[in-house]
Amino acid sequence: MDIILLLIPIFPLLGFLILGLGLRAIPRKLTAIIGPGMILLSFIFSIFIFLNFHYFAISPVRYFFSWISLPGLNIPFAFLVDPLSCLMLLIVTGVGFIIHFYSVGYMKEDPGFNRFFAYMNLFVFSMLLLVLGANYPIMFIGWEGVGLCSYLLIGFWFKNHDYNNAAKKAFIMNRIGDLGFLLGMFMLFTTFNSLGYAEIFAHAKWMASGNITLTTITLLLFVGAVGKSAQIPLYTWLPDAMAGPTPVSALIHAATMVTAGVYMIARSGILYVLSPVTMTIIGLTGLATALFAAVIAIFQNDIKKVLAYSTISQLGYMFLGLSVGAFTGAMFHLTTHAFFKALLFLGAGSVIHALGGEQDIRKMGGLMNKLPKTWFTFLIGTIAIAGIPPLSGFFSKDEILSAVFRSSEWLWVFAVAGSMMTAFYMFRLLFLTFFNRFRGTDEQHNHLHESPWVMTIPLMLLAMLAFFGGFINLPEIFGGNGGLENFLAPVFADANAVMAKQPPLSHATEWTLMGTTLLLVLAMAALAWYRFVRSGRDVVSEVNKQPALIRIAANKFYIDEAYETIIQKPLLRLSRFLHQVVEIRFIDRIVDGVGLLVIRTGNTVRYIQSGNVGFYMFIMIIGIILVLFFNILI
């Protein structure tokens, strides 16, 4: 069983090595088999692990070899198989495989076909390490690894400098978070003398709530999550990351990598529930991000950017859920989000593919008939994300919302507002893309075509998942037995025990909340329909003519520009100042000055050497006298 477990990440690594080392030698067809094939194998093995889950019930941690080992510090290379990692395993390999499959079609024309799959396999490998690791350093390997792959894949088309900048930005912002993660890890180590989950959580369980050390640890780890999961203030890399090929956006920047932060916090749940301050900060960050990103998303015209901001917003929801202790809810939303967001991205990819690279939704429209499969699956995705029953998004979002309501009504109001915005911008996207008449060039119009089967089959698979995904955790009132809830219960048992148990909502309240939300969401969908389909206004009016507030929102609140002025430019200026002034004019001048001083002194003193032998002898005698004199003294 251990071998099988080990093989799960080994397959993608193998794929990476084969494709990476034989970069140009391997024919495309073989790559098309190896790339997705390795992930498929991983997926099959993951299912196998999932089915034989009981096998790991007693000893969930499997050691392979000792990685860093010192007296007092032992970091084994070990995997942990528990419900949480199992769930992530299935998502990563499952969704990963579907996206790999899709990529075979999407990247068909690209000269870097092999490289692409090599990177993708490396990504899956890193992600698997991240979710399987039995201690924080192993998670960190994956954590940095996925950041690297993200960097490589965003800058995949590396001839374009903007893409490279986007890649670098992503990597650096992730690194800021990584530093937080690293420091959090150190603090964990100094506090618990171990970095393994099992040891830490076993000790943490008995610590007092609000402990300052725990608060610091959790905050530091949260910094890592903020970087990776693109929350305020480190979110700006994610929209830029859309520079990468669309399957990359689907896999890395929607389904898996960006949710690593959520996974990490869920994993460390027990630490977080013991630090209420951190939980509050997480909640506020999540909510702010959810609303902020949703507002920006409404005014974006790039199909992928809308989805990117939507991802940020949905991640905000997950953090909001985590902050009120709804770990299962957050994980549930993570799962469904992986399904429908991957679906939406792939659908967007299909559209872009059909339009020959066009991403501006103002130049789309009326694609419903030309791309029927894409349109239908995209519709399912939109409904799912908007939260309309019985699609998956509804259930997962509802679970978070009701948990939020139990914690605070005000939070709930804001969360619902965010939910409404989600519905609005998603339907806006849907309507502008697929309804009315085509607004692009004639040439594009003539070339419009439905994507090949390699691309549509993944769409359909994901659409099914997005449709039915919600049923894995049906709420009680729908007669569900909370499958995922029960499945994950052992993982969150300690955390839930600590969490002050609010009484469960009465069914009436729950129905009311659900109804209200649904009604508002439907109203927003209708508004979008009215505004973008019925009114007949084809093209979204020019941003410049809009009121100032909207213009600011359309320009993403100038956050990028602000970062550039506040951080980037002063940093560069500081760098230049340190080099030109401090280094060259100050420190080095002192160093050279010492040398010059010696030279100058020599130049002056050498006149003593007049050449007068009598004088030399006199000095010599004086010297002898002094030597002898000091000899007496001593």
């Binding site: 009598g614 006199f618 005698i621 004086i622 002898i624 006298i625 002898l628 004199f629 000899n631 007496i632």
Partner: protein, 166 residues
């Protein structure tokens, strides 16, 4: 007591002639006074029962070296006195310096005490036989090497003394 008298006599003689070496106006007088000093010191050697040294001293210094000096003085016809003695302030300064050196030296030696003072007048080490034994046993190699030194010095002196460049 007798030894002491001789000691004082020789010392005073040596110091007087040493001072006169410096005080004389003519170099030829200086050379003669220097000879006198050397003889006084030879007397000291005798007093210390260092007969061998006394003899060698007379031969080398009063004999060879003194002759060299005299020859030089006469060769160069240096009978006139110094045309321009050093200025007074310089003389004062160097005198003070020498005086200080003397003070310091005396300061050092004042506290010096020798541990087992054998009677110098009775030791036999200064006899030619004893010294010869040691010189040709323990110090044979340096002795031979010193002959090379002499040869070198001779060659050097000849080379320097030659008028034309070689």
């Amino acid at each position: 007591m007798f030894t002491e008298y001789i000691f004082f006599f020789l010392s005073v003689l040596a110091l007087y002639s040493a001072v006169m070496v410096l005080a004389s106006k003519k170099p030829i007088h200086s050379v003669l006074f220097l000879t006198l000093t050397f003889f006084a010191i030879a007397g000291h050697y005798v007093l210390l029962n260092a007969q061998f040294l006394a003899v060698v001293h007379v031969i080398v210094y009063a004999g060879a070296i003194m002759v060299l000096f005299l020859f030089t003085v006469m060769l160069l016809n240096l009978n006139n006195d110094e045309r321009s003695p050093k200025p007074v302030w310089a003389k004062t300064m160097v005198s003070i310096a020498s005086g200080m050196l003397l003070l310091v030296l005396i300061g050092i030696f004042r506290t010096y005490d020798i541990k087992s003072a054998a009677d110098p007048t009775l030791t036999q080490i200064g006899l030619v036989k004893n010294l010869g034994q040691i010189l040709f046993h323990e110090f044979l190699l340096p002795f031979e090497i010193s002959s090379v030194l002499f040869l070198t010095a001779m060659v050097g002196a000849v080379l320097l003394g030659k008028k034309e460049q070689i």
